[in-house]
Symmetry: C2
Subunit: 109 residues, 2 copies
């Protein structure tokens, strides 16, 4: 069916899944890593940096922007992208809490 039944899950579960989904493609991971590496706005390097076509990159950027993880600033003809540090921190908190659960008790397996 391809249709996720979001209504069956808690808001937190859906939030985690949404964040994770956007990281679930290496192109978006690469985009973010580049933004972190440069650590300032990037205006167009991305298509050269990553090997995908311009419309494809644009689409991936859109998804990252839609979740609020990056911001885009129009600057003349080009657009400057950078990580939205405030929203990134929010996301990090949610994801850390999920990933950092402890496994103290013994396991039977």
């Amino acid at each position: 069916m391809g249709l996720t039944k979001t209504e069956m899950f808690s808001e937190l579960q859906n939030e985690i899944a949404l964040y994770a989904k956007v990281f679930g493609h290496p192109a978006r991971v690469a985009i973010l890593q580049h933004l972190f590496k440069i650590n300032t706005c990037v205006c167009g390097d991305l298509v050269d940096e990553i090997g995908l076509a311009q419309p494809t990159i644009s689409q991936h950027l859109k998804e990252l922007k839609h979740l609020g993880l990056i911001k885009g600033n129009v600057e003349g003809t080009s657009v400057c992208y950078c990580v939205d540090s405030k929203n990134w921190a929010k996301m990090k908190e949610v994801m850390f809490q999920f990933l950092d659960q402890d496994l103290s008790k013994e396991q039977c397996c």
Copy 2:
């Protein structure tokens, strides 16, 4: 096309994306949360706990198992699942390193 061009990306980028992808569905998030909450093996509660059909849960479990994040132990008629703490820790390290990049430098946006 729906076909990710994995060969264009680094091994780390693909690894991060694979982990993230498996967390990119609320059912799998819910399964993992339940396993953490119970903090021991679970033999069949999952279908009741989460509201999806048994084959659907089985499929999600398969994906989690395939990545090594959970283990399944056959115990008579039933199968006991639990988080594989060693592999979970490995995954955590990879994901933390990706998520925990700092944003010290000023941003222009």
